[in-house]
Amino acid sequence: MDAARVAPVITAFLFCFPLLWVGREDVPTTFAIIYLFSVWLLLIVGAYFLSRRLRDMPGRTDRTRR
């Protein structure tokens, strides 16, 4: 659960990381593409395992009543 709370922060950080390259002339687009897509893929896989854990969590007593 805490991992789920931290996840967006980590994601945002990783996606903002390329900002550090701003102003540098030696970072090729290809490298940026590879970096961004691998991070993305990694996060998706992470989210997949996280969501499986969260979905099966027992603390679902708070479901809405209808």
Partner: protein, 892 residues
């Protein structure tokens, strides 16, 4: 031209196919075969309306112009989806528990069901979305023209867009307004969207694969081409990178169409878990081939070709007509699915928050009169759909489908993002108020319009070039793209920073300054703490309304069957047969929520308010909203008090139990004692009477002796029974006292005479003149006590020359009489029990007493208001009799 005809035919066939899919899905859902329709996969695919034609065509153009910046549009939503646990989950929960129909409904519901807020949000949404719809019309039109291979006349241009808009309106009306209850899924529409999501992904990936392996010849060469291209070097402005990421993340939450599929159409919260990884994966797949397509397009296509259409024109230029067709269908899917959902979402908002309130107020109090409101709602919704599409078309027509539209995507995002502070503040901050939300929304919207929306039309539409350069009326600090003299910023970032920061600032400050109404507090608590209490406390006070009136109204909104089922189930749960339940606040809440699913929270609230007369918030409701800390403290205080009470009660119970046990023991002892006491004389009476009966030869003397024993024992028995009776009378308090005046001396004289003191060897010493004290009491009973004490002394005093001293004194207004002998006294162990029944000192049976004397004395003294006690340490047995009231009584 033949190519174009084929394309039109294929498109029509595709649309027909979508109709069939939607129809079958609706049909299946209606028959309850909708299990697979409600799978997380369908949910995730329906989210893909985030990727519109702007994505499908525009992303490549974007990449061709600005490199990797286009990725931010997909990275932002990925952050939100991966962080679903934090925000989306709550949003969906609130949406479901409050039966929210749109983002305007959610915000209005949160801030006290305020319709003015809903209107503002609706206006923002319409203004923000209309250009976006126009953009979709434009992209399809452009794509068609690309196929036709010729620039068509502007009339044909417009005609295509018109036909498209009309067709989309028809589809949306047909499948978007079948169900009135927005909380029921639009299964047909969602299914069609899911199919379109697959088509557009397939199309883009197919084009991507063709470009990478068909044209460029593999991944390596493509990378090489990228390095050679205009966008070879990482060049993004950090402001734009972060700003766009934020903007797209905000847009995912606030775009009306996204809210529709994310929250309103959500069937199960757990679908979010799947979507949290599947949707980012979808976005990644959509954006994976964008750069290769852009680079290859730049390389191969002639100078001046529109990079926005590379997805289409690249396969065309390579002679891949089938692929181009698929690509066209992909773009077509992107455009149509977005327009359909946006139209549904906007029409719900317009109909619920603008048309219905106007209609209701124009009807006045006659809203209760017969007539099916559902028809009105449906009609207004259908008209709204057509209105929204017409607006989009006119926008397209007015701007002539020019290049100005290309930038509209981000402008639209920034517009609807103005609802973000109110939305997030509403669900995470209980202090947020209606006034704050209104202030933030209006200021944000105005700044956005001034700095972004209006300048986007270029000079001389809203602003002249002069105003853009020098500000209105020459006030340079009001320049639309350089507010407060801060120039040099990217216009988009400039507008975003100013609108969002001032929006948030006004929202917070106005919330802090203003005071929320009770209803706002109530709703606020329910939204912010939605996970803590899903059921909401009653808001309606029991009014004068009849259940029948409510049923009439509910039937017109929910439909007769649903309304009757609702009323019946409520009545059943209350244990009433029939259709009319008791109008409890809970029932009104439930009814209101059901109706909110059809006409929105504000309208439902207003309609019930019309029947009920007024809404009121009870003290209990407010108590429920009271700060949790206070609640917890209150609770723990209650617990503490309860546990203290419990301890107290337990102690009392234990004492009572001990006493009961003791009494039970006493009773047992008493019974065994009394049977023993009765048995002893009876045994000797029986024995001697048997001897008398059988032994005829007994001498007369012996006979007399035996008869004497029998007589004595009988007397003893009688005395015992008399004593018991006496004691029982005294103990029950049934004794009647014979109060009269006299002196203590005379009572003592009487007692000595009765005890036979004249003939007893015991000498009795008295106090003489001090005994001349008058008292008022039951003198006979008092004498009985004295007789008992004297005769006890006579019996038990073991001195050789026994002396009994009777001293009478007055101590602090009390008359004290001590009886002290010169014997060996009573052992300490026995002192405590001598006043108990049947207690005798030692084992002397000789005295012939039953052990009831002192017990009787104690009871008598109790009745007389005095007491009797053993006085230790007097050199012998000593009893003290205290008569507190007797003197005073005598004095009167």
């Amino acid at each position: 031209m033949g190519m174009l005809n084929v394309l039109v035919a294929v498109s029509l066939a595709y649309v027909l196919f979508l109709f069939v899919v939607a129809f079958l899905a609706d049909h299946a859902a209606a028959r309850g075969h909708a299990k697979w329709l409600q799978s997380p996969l369908i949910y995730t695919l329906s989210l893909s309306i985030y990727c519109t034609a702007w994505t499908f065509y525009g992303a490549v153009g974007y990449a061709a112009r600005s490199g990797l910046e286009y990725l931010t549009i997909y990275l932002g939503p990925s952050i939100v989806m991966i962080g679903w646990w934090w925000g989306l989950r709550k949003l969906v929960r609130i949406g479901r528990s409050q039966r929210v129909t749109s983002i305007a409904d959610l915000i209005s519901s949160r801030f006290g069901k305020s319709n003015s807020l809903a209107v503002v949000v609706t206006v923002i949404a319409v203004v923000g979305t209309t250009p976006y719809i126009a953009l979709q019309l434009q992209s399809v039109t452009l794509a068609l023209e690309a196929f036709a291979g010729e620039a068509r006349t502007s009339a044909g241009h417009n005609a295509t867009a018109l036909w498209l808009a009309a067709g989309l309106a028809l589809f949306t009306v047909l499948f978007g307004t079948r169900n009135l209850d927005a909380n029921e899924r639009h299964d047909g529409v969602v299914m069609a969207i899911a199919v379109e999501a697959v088509v557009k992904l397939l199309a883009l990936v197919a084009v991507g694969l063709f470009v990478v392996w068909g044209i460029a010849g593999g991944v390596g060469p493509v990378m090489e081409m990228i390095s050679q291209s205009e966008i070879a070097v990482w060049q993004v402005s950090s402001g734009r990178w972060a700003g766009l990421m934020f903007l797209s993340a905000a847009a995912l939450l606030t775009l009306p169409r996204m809210f529709q599929v994310l929250v309103v159409e959500n069937e199960d919260e757990r679908h979010l878990a799947t979507a949290s990884w599947a949707f980012p994966a979808y976005l990644m797949a959509m954006s994976l081939f964008v750069v290769p397509i852009a680079v290859v397009g730049l390389e191969l296509m002639p100078e001046g070709a529109n990079p926005d259409l590379f997805v289409l024109t690249l396969p065309l230029s390579q002679g891949q007509d089938a692929l181009a067709m698929l690509s066209f269908l992909g773009g077509f899917s992107s455009a149509t699915s977005m327009v359909i959902v946006a139209a549904i979402a906007l029409s719900t908002m317009v109909s619920n928050h603008i048309v219905m309130p106007i209609w209701l107020s124009s009807q006045g109090a006659s809203a209760m009169v017969a007539g099916d409101v559902r028809h009105v709602v449906l009609l207004s919704r259908r008209l709204s759909i057509m209105g929204v599409l017409a607006l989009g078309y006119f926008y397209f027509h007015a701007t002539g489908g020019g290049e100005a539209l290309a930038a509209i995507g981000l402008i639209s995002f920034a517009g609807v993002a103005q609802t973000l502070p109110a939305l997030l503040g509403g669900i995470f901050w209980r202090g947020a108020t209606r006034v704050g939300a209104l202030a933030g929304l209006v200021i944000g919207f105005v700044i956005w319009g001034y700095t972004m929306f209006m300048p986007s039309f270029g000079p001389d539409v809203f602003f002249s070039q002069d105003v853009l350069d020098h500000g209105p009326l020459g006030l340079s600090w009001l320049r639309p793209q350089a507010l407060f003299g801060i120039s040099g910023l990217d216009p988009m970032i400039h507008a975003l920073v100013w609108s969002m920061s001032l929006n948030a600032l006004f929202f917070v400050v106005a919330s802090l300054v203003s005071f929320p109404t009770p209803l706002e507090r109530l709703q606020g608590a329910q939204f912010v703490n939605v996970f803590d209490h899903s059921a909401r406390p009653g808001v309606w006070s029991r009014g004068a309304a009849e259940a029948e009136d409510l049923l009439v109204m509910a039937q017109r909104i929910l439909g007769p069957a649903d309304a009757q089922a609702l009323f019946r189930s409520e009545a059943a749960s209350q244990g009433i047969t029939g259709y009319l339940p008791q109008i409890s606040p809970e029932f009104l809440q439930r009814l209101e929520r059901e109706m909110a699913g059809s006409v929105g929270a504000a309208t439902a609230h207003a309609m019930i308010g019309q029947i009920m007369g007024r809404a009121s918030v009870t003290v209990e409701d407010l108590m429920a909203v009271a700060d949790e800390t206070a609640q917890i403290m209150e609770y723990s205080n209650q617990l503490e008090a309860k546990s203290a009470e419990l301890v107290h009660t337990t102690r009392q119970l234990r004492a009572a139990n001990e006493k009961l046990t003791q009494i039970s023991h006493q009773k047992d002892a008493f019974l065994s004692q009394i049977s023993h006491e009765l048995r002893t004389p009876m045994t000797s009476i029986r024995a001697f009477s048997e001897i008398l009966r059988d032994g005829g030869t007994l001498e007369l003397k012996a006979q007399e002796k035996y008869a004497g024993i029998i007589h004595d024992e009988a007397i003893r028995l009688t005395r015992l029974l008399d004593d018991l009776l006496d004691l029982s009378v005294l103990e029950n308090g049934q004794v009647s006292l014979n109060m009269r005046g006299g002196t203590i001396g005379s009572v003592l004289d009487q007692a000595m005479a009765a005890a036979g003191a004249e003939n007893n060897p015991m000498r009795i010493r008295r106090s003489g003149a001090r005994e001349d004290v008058r008292l008022y009491s039951d003198l006979d009973r008092l004498a009985q006590v004295f007789i008992n004490l004297i005769s006890n002394a006579q019996k038990y005093c073991d001195a050789k020359s026994p002396v009994l001293t009777i001293s009478v004194r007055e101590v602090e207004g009390q008359l004290v009489v001590d009886f002290t002998d010169n014997g060996s006294g009573i052992p300490k162990a026995s002192q405590e029990v001598i006043f108990e029944k049947f207690s005798r000192v030692g084992s002397d049976q000789a005295a012939g007493g039953a052990g009831l004397g002192l017990a009787i004395c104690r009871e008598i003294m109790l009745r007389l208001g005095g007491q009797i006690a053993y006085l230790p340490g007097q050199g012998g047995a000593s009893f003290r009799v205290i008569l507190p009231d007797a003197l005073e009584m005598a004095a009167q």
